[in-house]
Amino acid sequence: MTMLLFGPELYFLLVALVLFFFSLRRTPKVKADHTVATVLALVGFLVAVACIGQKGELFFKAYRVDLFSQIFKAALALGLFLVFMISRNLAGIEERLHAEFYLFLTTCTLGMMMLVSSVELLTIYVSLELSSYSLYILVPMRRGDDIDVEAGIKYLFIGAVSSGFMLFGLSYIFGATHSTYLTDIIPKMPELLASPIGLVGVLLSLAGFFFKLSVFPFHFWAPDVYQGGANQVVTFIATASKAAAVALVLRIAALGAGAGYDFAQALVILSIISMTLGNLVAIIQKDFKRMLAYSSIAHAGYVLIGILAFNEAGYSSAVYYALAYLIMNFTVFMVLNEVARDGRDLKIAELAGLYHRSPLLSMSLILGIFALAGVPPSIGFTGKLLLFTSAMNQGYFLLVLIGAVNGTISLYYYLRVIYAAYFIKGEGLPPIQLSWPTKMLNYALCATILFFGVAPDSIIELARAAVRTVL
């Protein structure tokens, strides 16, 4: 009976198996695979939503199922489903690998689902690695030129090194607190941080989590992977895996809650550097995905602002922002995928004439971009404002000021995208035909972005309820 708590994970394990068998086929059935995978993912999403109310603990308290984790599980399942939906023409990846693409995405999702529920160091480590490894494999799967393997290798090594750091750090924490359960560790945090060994431990272990979130200085993989990876894969990395990372960092940051002023200051500095660096460098990018990579670094900085507040308001706004980020970033990537049908890298200038080619897509793009830029009325705006509010309540005036100014800087490159899509004339480019599910998807996403931007109350209440279980 208790295994029902493990329902979503079990379900996706099952899906993974099915897809595994698909991948064994000699002659790939692209369409069939896609349909089946999408349907399964949809069902998975429903399952996750169905299990959202569950509470309980599994595996000797190493695994906690609460509102927080379940919300993120639903989000992750949603992310997977969405990515599958736009994987209809997977031009970026050879046909024979399609099944594996679905398989590894599923396993990655599984890993991340476990990640958001795990409250014990080893569990965290294992599930983290599970999710990471699937991505390591997915990135070089791309067909075509050499940059994909380069991206893969960089991703792998930066990931491996930082997870090595994390593990080393965890070992010190274990040594200092004699336990691997967060529930035991958190109370001991103050004296832990007082001792050098504990401090080093916490610091090193943060490396692994920040790597997922691509916070400075663990951001180096992001631009290369975004550019090198296949569009759909990058979409997944940019949306679902970011959400998972936020969840993870939220769980861990509770460690930092007892930390002193210096620790918070260190985080403040990291967050400031992340957003500034991300925004500034994004300005000069020509490649659309690479630009989005830098913007994701900047957004990591924003999320950190919320986490820094170390209180309910901050965490709930961070959760809200994570979910918002999933939606808005996905919207942009969906447009990217639709425009780059042949799976190529898209230069920003190549959005030219999008307005004439497909008004619907350009509308989604404009909303997604404005949401990323934090322009009302969109979830992005509301989320950012909530983050700033919670930080300001903790007295981080300078942080908020810099964050707000960064918003302006970021607007510059976001507007360049809109400029390309709306203003540059695309000579002789054919109109983009959209299948009806994609159209539905477009409308749904736009509606979500607008509605929850104007009426965020329900989401916020949900997030608050969730973070209460964490704190």
């Binding site: 490894y133 050499d146 940059i147 393997v149 290798i153 491996a160 090194v161 090595g164 080393f168 070992s171």
Partner: protein, 105 residues
Amino acid sequence: MLVFNQLETYLYLALILFAIGLYGVLARRNLIAVLISVELILNAAMINFMAFNRFVAPHPAVGQVIALFIMAVAAAEAAIGLSIIIAVYRKLKAINVEQATELRG
């Protein structure tokens, strides 16, 4: 013999191992060498866990279990790493880091 019976020794050992691994990661140009250095880092962590488990942790098994897990994970990592390195070799006809310097800026 006392030296072998106290925590610090093992911690220093692990630290040294970690340092070596880190050095290897940063210094070696050969991808396989880098991969091995990463493994060293993991091993350093493993030693720590074992040591802490042996000397301070209340529950005797935890560290060992963790160590076993780490071994498994490391093996998986090695497998993935090697496979990617092979892919690199196929495409770039080399397994040097200098070869993979397309993406910048």
